[in-house]
Amino acid sequence: AQSVTQPDIHITVSEGASLELRCNYSYGATPYLFWYVQSPGQGLQLLLKYFSGDTLVQGIKGFEAEFKRSQSSFNLRKPSVHWSDAAEYFCAVGQPNTGFQKLVFGTGTRLLVSP
């Protein structure tokens, strides 16, 4: 069965500093990989996704993520964090080539941005 681990429950970053959020997955092959962001009381917004090809994926709001097969990881990065980036971030995996997708989510990482 697929699983996703986000080892950091909370992360605090100073505004302007760089950010890396960790995500590890368990799956028998290369899955589809996603990062979503959720602001308080809101739904989920898709930041970026990886299906195949270039392992460095660019997303919205200046985020990027790198797929590392050898480490079963898909870490999210941003070079300079803004106060508006404070939110909950979820990594998710989907199953390729199965037609009907369900996403398996991690437990999330809450990002706090300090002035």
Partner: protein, 114 residues
């Protein structure tokens, strides 16, 4: 272009009651999925509908049921509500042609069971 819409925004019910939540998918999307997000947790997959049929189901009891209409909108029904059903219920839509990937989420319905 409206995204995924859900109604109502908030709902308060008591134990044992029944509830119906509604979802309209993003324009051009024909597949609808439902997720439950308990406080402090990631969303958990409930089920997915395409062509008015349930195509996949997560580990949820039969008290959770759904329906998809010809216009692709969907309902989630929960019977015999338990306190543990209190959560944010998220609807996601995607186009079948993409294999259902790249799901777009609505803002959710916050269900409180007292």
């Amino acid at each position: 272009d409206a995204g995924v819409t859900q109604s109502p925004t908030h709902l308060i019910k008591t134990r044992g009651q029944q509830v119906t939540l509604r979802c309209s998918p993003k324009s051009g999307h024909d597949t609808v999925s439902w997720y439950q997000q308990a406080l402090g947790q990631g969303p958990q997959f409930i089920f997915q509908y395409y062509e008015e049929e349930e195509r996949q189901r997560g580990n949820f009891p039969d008290r959770f049921s759904g329906h998809q209409f010809p216009n692709y909108s969907s309902e989630l029904n929960v019977n015999a509500l338990l306190l543990g059903d209190s959560a944010l219920y998220l609807c996601a839509s995607s186009p079948r042609a993409s294999g259902g990937v790249g799901q777009y989420f609505g803002p959710g319905t916050r269900l409180t069971v007292l």
